[in-house]
C-alpha cells in the first residue's frame, strides 16, 4: 500500500445527478422549440438564437477571466440562458441588440451577483424585459417590423380577432422564435417531467391560473381562454423560465403559490396593462418575492415540536 487512503465524512457515494446534466436536459428540451421556430421563421431565427448563445457564453467566460474566478461555462447554464433569451426574441431582432441583451442577462443579472445560483431573478427573463424596455420600438414582438416576425396574436385577440386554435397550437403565427409552437414546448415539458428536472406544479398551475382567469374575463368563452393559453410567451415562460431552480420556490406548495401569483399578474397585464404580453413581467415579479414564498412554505419538521 504505497499511497494513503482518502478520509472523508460520509456519504461516500453520490447520485449521477449534476448541474451540467440538468442544464443539458433543459437544452435538449428546448430543441423542438428551436426547430419549430426555424421552420416557422426561417434561418435568421437560428442566427438570432446562435448569436445569443455565443454572446452569453463569451460574456460569462470573459467575466470569469477578468474577476479571476474559476471558469464556470462548462456547467452549460450560460448556453441555457442564451438559448432561452434567443427563443424569446422575434426573428427580426437586430443582432447587435441580441448581443447586448445577452450580455445584460449574463453580466448584470447573473455574474455580478456571484454567478450561477446566486442571481435573484431569472437572467433570460430579465434580459428579455430589459430589451423590451430599452429597444421598445424594435424588440417587442407587439411592434412588428416585417410580416414574417409579426405581432403576437395577443394583440389581435385583445381586439376581438379570432385565430384558429390549430394554428396557435402549431405555432403558425407571429411572435417570438420559440414561443409560438405550443406543440414543441409541450414535448419539451414532457421530456423535463420524465427526466424529473421539473415537477408539474409550476407549469400546470401557472397555465391553469391563466386559463381560469381568462375564462372569467372572456365571459366563459372557452375559445378565448384557450387562445390566451396557447399564445404569447405563456407556455415557454411557464415550462422553462418560471421553473428556473434558482429563482423559484423549492417545495411543492411554494411552487403552487408562485404559479398562481405569476398567472394572476400575467392576466392583469394582458387584460388591463399597457403591454400585450405579461408573462415576463409576471415571472420577474414573482422571482423577487420568491425568497419570501420559500420562507412561508418550508416543510414541516418531522417530530419538530420539541418533546
Amino acid at each position: 500500500m504505497s499511497e494513503q487512503l482518502y478520509i472523508a465524512s460520509s456519504p461516500h457515494i453520490s447520485s449521477k445527478n449534476s448541474t451540467q446534466r440538468i442544464m443539458l436536459d433543459v437544452i435538449i428540451a428546448l430543441i423542438p422549440a428551436l426547430i419549430a421556430g426555424t421552420i416557422i421563421f426561417g434561418a435568421k431565427a437560428l442566427l438570432v438564437v446562435g448569436v445569443c448563445i455565443a454572446a452569453a457564453v463569451a460574456s460569462e467566460a470573459i467575466f470569469n477571466i477578468i474577476v479571476k474566478k474559476e471558469q464556470t461555462i462548462s456547467d452549460l447554464s450560460a448556453i441555457v440562458t442564451g438559448l432561452l433569451l434567443g427563443l424569446n426574441l422575434p426573428a427580426n431582432t437586430p443582432l447587435w441588440q441580441a448581443v447586448i441583451g445577452s450580455i445584460f442577462a449574463i453580466i448584470v443579472v447573473k455574474c455580478v451577483f456571484g454567478g450561477i445560483g446566486k442571481n435573484i431573478v431569472n437572467p433570460a427573463i430579465t434580459g428579455r424585459v430589459f430589451m423590451t424596455i430599452a429597444f421598445a420600438s424594435l424588440a417587442t414582438p407587439a411592434f412588428p417590423i416585417d410580416s414574417t416576425a409579426g405581432a403576437t396574436p395577443l394583440v389581435g385577440l385583445m381586439e376581438g380577432e379570432n385565430l384558429s386554435l390549430i394554428d396557435l397550437f402549431l405555432g403558425n403565427h407571429g411572435g417570438s422564435i420559440g414561443e409560438t409552437c405550443s406543440l414543441a414546448l409541450i414535448i419539451g415539458a414532457i421530456y423535463l417531467l420524465c427526466r424529473r428536472v421539473i415537477t408539474w406544479h409550476l407549469p400546470v398551475v401557472f397555465v391553469a391560473t391563466v386559463f381560469v382567469l381568462s375564462l372569467f374575463y372572456g365571459d366563459m368563452n372557452l375559445g378565448f381562454a384557450l387562445s390566451q393559453v396557447l399564445s404569447g410567451g405563456l407556455l415557454i415562460g411557464a415550462i422553462f423560465m418560471a421553473t428556473d431552480y434558482v429563482t423559484s420556490p423549492a417545495t411543492g406548495w411554494g411552487k403552487v403559490i408562485f404559479a398562481v401569483g405569476a398567472g394572476a399578474i400575467t392576466c392583469l397585464i394582458r387584460f388591463w396593462g399597457n403591454y400585450p404580453e405579461g408573462v415576463s413581467f409576471a415571472i420577474l415579479l414573482m422571482n423577487i418575492v420568491d425568497p419570501y414564498i420559500d420562507k412561508w412554505t418550508t416543510r414541516k419538521l418531522f417530530g419538530g415540536d420539541k418533546k
Binding site: M1, S2, E3, Q4, L5, Y6, I7, A8, S9, S10, P11, H12, I13, S14, S15, N17, S18, T19, R21, I22, T72, D75, S77, G114, G115, I116, G117, K118, Y245, V246, P249, A250, T251, G252, T298, R299, K300, L301, F302, G303, G304, D305, K306, K307
Partner: protein, 440 residues
C-alpha cells in the same frame, strides 16, 4: 400513517446477498479497542502476559452506559497500547497474540434467566451493543422503568445501506437465535408486539422471518419499500407503527424499542450458549475487493486480514470504510480492527474514492425534498456559513440523523450533511460553553 417519509433511491449493490458467511481462520493477532460503544470506554482487566481464551473478559464496563469486552481468540495478551480510533481520538486497546487454537473459555456457559433483572444482567453480560451502527449498549435500551410498557419491540432488518447483506444473511441462517431472543424479550420485558421491518429487496430474509413469526405469537413481519434510509430508527418506527418520535426524544417515549436483527441473533446465541459478543458477520465488498464475501470475523481482527481472506485487492484501495457508503466511516489504514458494530468493510479503488467536485448551489431544492425529516439543508448551510447558530438551531439541525440523502442527491455535490454535522457540533460546543459560564 398519513404519508410515508421521503428518502433517496440508492443503487443496491447487494452482491453478497445469499452468500453464506464463511469463518475466517484464526488471525495471528487481534487488537481489541476498549471503546466500541457509545458511553465510557471499558477498563482493561487483563495484564500483559495473561493467557486468555475466547469469551474471557478483557475489558470491564465502566458504569451503566458502557459495555464489557471479551477476548475473541485464544492466546496471550502481548500488548496494551493506545491506538487511533475511527473517530480520530486515541484509545486503549488490548492486543492478543493468537495461539491458533480458538479455544473457548470455561467461563462460557448459558446464563440462568428467570426475571427481568436477570434478563437485563444477561444482556449486559453478553457485551451486546447496537450492531446496526451506533453501538449503543443494548442493556440500556432494555432497562425501562417498571411502569413503562414496551408496546412494540421493532427489529431492524431494513438494511437500507448499499452493499451490506450481513443482517439479511443472519436473518436467513440464524432465525432460531432471533426467536430465542424475541421469546425472552416477550417473557421478561413484557413486550406486547414485535414487528420485524425488512426492505422488500430481501425476499429470503422476509421468508425466513415470516416462517419464524408463524411459529410464534405477537410477532409480525412488515415489508418496507426499498428506500434509503428505511433503517433509520425514527423512520423505521414511523413506517412500522405510524408513531412519531419527537425531536430529541428516545423511541421509548412512544413505547418503542428498536433493535437490529443481528443484535437479536447475538442475544439469542448468548442466552442459549453463554457465548458473548466476540465475533461479527461482516460483509466484505467494494470495487477494490477481489472476492466479495460475508465472513464471520473475530472482533479485533485487522481489516487487512479480512481483505486477505477475500482474495486480497484487485486494485489498490484508496478508500476503506466501516459500514456502508451512505453513513460509513472511512478509516485511515487497513490495520484498523473489526469492531463490535462493524457490519461491513468496503474498499474502493481510485475512481470511487473521490467524489465529484463541489459547485455552486443552484437551489434545485433536492436536499429539502428528499430529506426524510423535512429539514432544509441548504438554508442551514447558508446560516452556518455566516455563523448564525441561532438560525441553524431554529432550522432544526438537531433533528438531522445524518443519513446523507441531501449530499447524495445534490447535483452540485455540496457537503450538506457534512455541514449539518458541523452545525450540530457547534451548537453542542456553544451549549457546553454556556453551561460552564453559568457555573462561574
Amino acid at each position: 400513517m398519513a404519508f410515508s417519509l421521503r428518502g433517496v433511491i440508492t443503487p443496491h449493490r447487494k452482491n453478497t446477498a445469499n452468500m453464506s458467511p464463511q469463518n475466517l481462520p484464526a488471525p495471528a493477532s487481534v487488537t481489541i479497542p476498549m471503546s466500541m460503544h457509545i458511553g465510557k470506554p471499558a477498563q482493561v482487566c487483563v495484564n500483559v502476559g495473561d493467557i486468555v481464551k475466547i469469551g474471557d473478559k478483557i475489558g470491564a464496563a465502566d458504569g451503566f452506559v458502557s459495555s464489557d469486552i471479551f477476548a475473541s481468540v485464544s492466546g496471550k495478551v502481548s500488548k496494551i497500547s493506545e491506538i487511533l480510533l475511527s473517530n480520530g481520538s486515541l484509545g486503549q486497546a488490548v492486543v492478543i497474540e493468537s495461539d491458533g487454537q480458538m479455544a473457548v473459555s470455561e467461563t462460557v456457559s448459558a446464563p440462568v434467566v428467570n426475571s427481568k433483572e436477570e434478563f437485563i444482567s444477561a444482556v449486559r453480560a453478553s457485551g451486546l451493543v447496537g450492531l446496526g451502527g451506533a453501538g449503543f449498549p443494548t442493556h440500556v435500551k432494555f432497562s425501562v422503568n417498571d411502569d413503562v410498557t414496551i408496546e412494540e419491540l421493532i427489529i431492524n432488518g431494513a438494511e437500507c445501506e448499499p452493499y451490506i447483506t450481513s443482517d439479511s444473511v443472519i436473518m436467513v441462517e440464524h432465525a432460531d437465535e432471533i426467536k430465542t431472543a424475541i421469546e425472552a424479550a416477550q417473557k421478561f420485558l413484557g413486550v406486547k408486539k414485535v414487528i420485524i421491518g425488512i426492505e422488500k429487496n430481501k425476499p429470503e430474509a422476509i421468508a425466513s422471518m415470516r416462517q419464524m413469526a408463524s411459529e410464534m405469537s405477537g410477532v409480525e413481519v412488515k415489508v418496507l419499500k426499498s428506500l434509503y434510509p428505511q433503517g433509520g430508527e425514527k423512520v423505521l418506527i414511523y413506517h412500522t407503527t405510524g408513531k412519531v418520535v419527537k425531536m430529541g426524544a428516545l423511541p421509548i417515549s412512544v413505547g418503542c424499542v428498536v433493535c437490529n436483527s443481528t443484535t437479536m441473533a447475538t442475544l439469542g446465541a448468548y442466552l442459549k450458549t453463554g457465548m458473548p459478543l466476540v465475533s461479527k458477520c461482516v460483509t466484505v465488498d467494494g470495487s477494490a475487493v477481489s472476492e466479495p464475501k460475508n465472513a464471520i470475523v473475530p472482533i479485533g481482527t485487522a481489516l487487512s486480514d479480512v481483505f486477505e481472506f477475500c482474495g486480497g485487492f484487485k486494485e489498490e484501495p484508496r478508500k476503506v470504510l466501516y459500514g456502508g457508503p451512505m453513513m460509513g466511516i472511512s478509516v485511515p489504514s487497513v490495520d484498523a480492527p473489526i469492531l463490535k458494530n462493524t457490519n461491513a468493510i468496503l474498499a474502493f479503488g481510485k475512481k470511487e474514492a473521490v467524489l465529484p467536485k463541489t459547485t455552486s448551489c443552484i437551489r434545485c431544492g433536492g436536499c429539502v425534498n428528499h430529506c426524510p425529516f423535512g429539514i432544509n439543508p441548504y438554508a442551514i448551510a447558508n446560516a452556518f456559513k455566516v455563523g448564525d447558530l441561532d438560525e441553524v438551531d431554529r432550522l432544526g439541525v438537531n433533528l438531522c440523523m445524518e443519513c446523507g440523502c441531501c449530499s447524495y442527491i445534490c447535483p452540485a455535490n455540496r457537503p450538506l450533511v457534512q455541514t449539518n454535522r458541523l452545525g450540530k457540533a457547534a451548537l453542542r460546543e456553544r451549549a457546553a460553553k454556556e453551561k460552564k459560564e453559568e457555573k462561574k
